[in-house]
């Protein structure tokens, strides 16, 4: 009898322990992923626990892929003694994640994927936390944008699309999040090609894709990596790219807006990182080094940049800060021009 009572007690405690969710899951992480420590000379700061990499959109998008690739390379090559754990935090056009990271204050073990689209969103939405309140970390890549439609759509070239879009609110353009690069790209078309299309905002590119394939929107704006599977299958047709020059690879044939005579419809995405507002200088140096090492690996260059049609670039935190301060000014000017902000 006593034995039985003991048993029940032990079991209840075990259930209790397993229910202490985070503890259990963290223990799992640590035991599986702890690395003996980087062998090379370490900077003054090393993370004491798993580094949380916040992605301000749902899994499966461009930012997500970027974060997960970096997390993987950094961990595999032992550039970091602790794993980079990717957390998806969609919503509020990036505002939710910005607020979250801002709330981390002096925490050195939280970073987020920063993408010029989210910087735009926070400006456009007048969000409580904008990028200048966070700590800028390195820029790691430039990404491109494509205007894509469904096979069998009434317009299969960019000229036809622009012609159709001159009728007010006839053509629905799907994009991920308000005030994001997708939104700005859309506004650029409306302004400089003098079209009157309508913008439909989705939470992620995956949702935009679902709506485009289902025929609920007419065209969508995507990164190459987000639509290449559908394009190779012949389900979708790329109309044009917003890149300054033609993208190579599978998109070598796709014209740029510039070639079509729209010099002002040019937009690239900048992929970078950011940290909480009061991140220590040692931690900034640590992330500078890890990210620089990652961008120098062959795996990064072939498996990420080439495969997803991105352009290589690296700027350290200080350069990134100067770069973004200038960029933010230009976004404000464009948003004012197209009337997104006053």
């Amino acid at each position: 009898m006593k034995m039985k009572k003991m048993m029940s007690l032990v079991i209840s405690v075990l259930i209790g322990a397993s229910a202490a969710t985070g503890c259990a899951s963290k223990a799992l992480q640590t035991s599986e992923t702890a690395v003996k420590g980087a062998e090379e000379a370490k900077p003054a700061f090393t993370p004491g626990k798993e580094v949380e990499v916040v992605v301000p959109s749902s899994a499966g998008g461009g930012s997500d892929l970027n974060a997960r690739t970096i997390a993987d390379i950094a961990f595999k090559n032992q550039y970091t003694p602790k794993n980079f754990m990717v957390t998806n935090m969609p919503g509020g056009s990036g505002g939710v994640a910005f607020s979250y990271v801002y709330g981390k204050g002096t925490n050195d073990e939280t970073i987020m994927v920063l993408h010029n689209g989210q910087i735009m969103s926070t400006i456009a939405n007048n969000a409580p936390v904008t990028s200048d309140k966070l700590t800028y970390l390195p820029v790691v890549a430039y990404d491109n944008l494509l205007l894509v439609t469904k096979k069998g759509a009434p317009y299969q070239t960019v000229e036809d699309f622009i012609e159709a879009a001159k009728t007010p609110e006839k053509v629905k353009v799907g994009g991920s999040q308000r005030g994001n690069t997708d939104n700005l790209a859309f506004e650029l078309i409306n302004k400089y090609a003098e079209t009157k299309a309508a913008y439909v905002q989705f939470n992620s590119s995956g949702d935009t894709m679902t709506a485009l394939l289902g025929g609920h929107v007419d065209v969508g704006i995507f990164n190459p990596s987000e639509c290449i599977g559908q394009i190779e299958a012949g389900e979708l047709v790329p109309l044009a790219t917003f890149a300054p020059e033609k993208i190579g690879g599978a998109f070598a044939e796709v014209p740029t807006f510039k070639e079509k005579g729209f010099d002002n419809i040019v937009l690239s995405e900048v992929r970078a990182f950011a940290g909480p507002p009061k991140m220590s200088a040692e931690a900034i140096a640590f992330y500078d080094e890890v990210l620089k090492k990652v961008t120098e690996t062959d795996e990064w260059k072939t498996n990420y940049l080439e495969k997803n049609n991105l352009q290589p670039v690296y700027m350290n935190s200080a350069e990134a800060k100067a770069f973004f301060e200038k960029e933010v000014e230009s976004y404000r000017t464009i948003f004012k021009e197209v009337g997104i902000i006053q």
Binding site: M7, S8, L9, A19, A20, C23, A71, G92, L213
Partner: protein, 500 residues
């Protein structure tokens, strides 16, 4: 019959030792993750994803998929035994599972949950094998407007369905919707009802709310009404005693089949997911089922409907993921990211270019689902010991689980206060006989509703006709009207002849 040939090929991929081991490991982890309040399949898959990068993609997806569907089995454990749903799809399981457990039928409830999960999952897998790509294409016809109606259908039904008083149910739904509006506006990023508190900027978190409402609310009730909560003495705690007899199996099987099929279809829809599936199936069963009067007081049918549906949905979510490269649920979205990380190209060509991957996964589901059933049933005798623990021991243990579980998710003390507040609220709601399930479901569904309504208006440039723009929309709308008017009409018709 090309599919059968491909499936056999899939079996040969799935039946290798590493792949069976992966399915078994996934099944175990899924059960644990599912049983832990707070952590659901989404967090479980996201946590494990980085560990699979070095694996063979097929082995990796087999493990993560097993984790996903076995999570649906595990979610029912804590819902039935402690009235704390392990994750949101198990909320509906608690409604009948916990009362069953209080009546001394915990074993039967757990067995019903496991066997229904198995039936629901199996139906989902068969659907996926033969109709996957076709059904996924059909799912695409659900755009923002159609999904809006689907959620409104769910929200209007819930108040009428749960508890004995429709107005109290509607009140609970309204409370849930109000709680869901706190935090950053999903479309414009503007803070709402956050009172400039940084803790409320990102809204009320679901985990503290669900743990507080179910778990901590329960603790308060246990303390106040101590005499009612004596340990339930079951004579025999063996699997034998839990196995359903013939008449019980007859009650459960048809319900599980219907709900599994229905759940699978909901799972295929973009962005609907297992929670909605469990929820709509339960509603359907309560409307048309044979034993609807008893549902909510500990009916096996309630447990069966919810569990079969959420398993069916978990499998259904793979159809759009594999055949179109688009996510059918939050967890599937993480798996989509996984596909890219493993170097595969999600999209319509996946079936053609990577048949070993796709069919290996589908083949593994047949094996994995059986493994899940065996593991889950094997756990029953151990789990049932929980109901024998006297409340003097249970109360401190559940309190600890509630507090530690809530805190550890975000390491944030605010969440703990929120959890305690939700518990106190739940206790008072219980006194007022207002069920807490509609609150949580409305809380889950409202952000989706808001997003879809906004998208529908974006598409129609603000015109209302988008909501009657397709046959699906009109059908759903008519269903809503019928559901709302039916009880009133039935009353009107019945009044003249009270003899009936």
């Amino acid at each position: 019959m090309e599919n059968i040939q491909l499936l056999l090929q899939g079996f040969s991929v799935a039946a290798t030792i590493p792949n069976i081991a992966a399915a078994l490991a996934g099944a175990f982890m899924g059960l644990i993750v599912g049983a832990m309040p707070g952590i659901g399949s989404l967090a479980g898959v996201a946590l494990l994803l980085p560990l699979t990068f070095k694996m063979n993609p097929t082995t990796a997806i087999i493990m993560l998929a097993a984790l996903y569907y076995s999570n649906m089995y595990g979610g029912s454990f804590s819902a039935i035994l402690l009235n704390i749903p392990g994750d949101s799809p198990a909320i509906m399981t608690a409604l009948d599972g916990y009362p069953m457990s209080r009546k001394g039928k915990a074993g039967k409830a757990l067995f019903t949950a496991s066997i229904s999960s198995f039936i629901g999952g199996s139906i989902g897998i068969i659907m996926l094998t033969f109709l996957g790509p076709l059904a996924a294409k059909w799912g695409l016809s659900f755009g923002p407007a159609e999904l809006t109606w689907l959620i409104i259908l769910a929200l209007t039904s819930i108040g009428w369905i749960i508890g004995d008083n429709p107005s109290k149910g509607l009140l609970a739904t309204a409370i849930g919707m109000m709680l869901a509006t706190i935090g950053l506006d999903k479309a414009l990023g503007q803070p709402r009802f956050s009172f400039d508190s940084i803790n409320l900027f990102s809204g009320v978190s679901f985990i503290p709310l669900v743990i507080g409402m179910f778990g901590f609310g329960q603790v308060i009730d246990m303390v106040v009404n101590r005499s009612e909560y004596g340990a339930v003495e079951e004579k025999r705690l063996t699997i034998k005693e839990s196995i359903l007899d013939k008449s019980e199996a007859k009650r459960v099987t048809p319900v599980a089949c219907r709900s599994g099929l229905f759940g699978c279809f909901i799972g295929i829809l973009p962005g609907a997911g297992a929670t909605m599936a469990a929820f709509l199936s339960y509603i359907m069963e309560k409307r048309v089922g044979r034993n609807k009067a008893e549902m909510g007081q500990g009916a096996m049918e309630g447990v069966a409907a919810a569990e079969a549906a959420n398993n069916g949905a978990a499998i259904g979510a793979f159809a759009p993921l594999l055949s179109l490269g688009i996510p059918g649920s939050g967890t599937a979205a993480v798996l989509l990211g996984g596909l890219m990380m493993w170097g595969l190209q999600p999209g319509p060509l996946l079936f053609k270019n990577n048949p070993d991957f796709v069919w290996g996964l589908i083949g593994s589901m047949y094996i994995g689902n059986i493994l899940c059933l065996i593991v889950a049933i094997g756990c029953i005798p151990i789990l049932m010991k929980v109901v024998r623990v006297p409340s003097s021991i249970m109360i401190p243990i559940i309190s600890c689980i509630c507090i530690v579980g809530t805190y550890s998710v975000n390491n944030n003390m605010f969440d703990v206060y929120l959890m305690i507040g939700a518990g106190v609220l739940a206790y008072f709601l219980k006194l007022a006989k207002i069920s807490e399930a509609p609150i949580l479901l409305a809380f889950v569904l409202t952000p989706m509703l808001e997003m879809y309504v906004r998208q529908a208006f974006d598409i129609s440039s603000g015109r209302l006709n988008v909501f009657v723009g397709s046959p699906i929309s009109i059908t759903l709308m008519i269903l809503i009207i019928v559901f709302c008017l039916a009880p009133v009409l039935i009353k009107l018709i019945k009044k003249p002849n009270p003899a009936e």
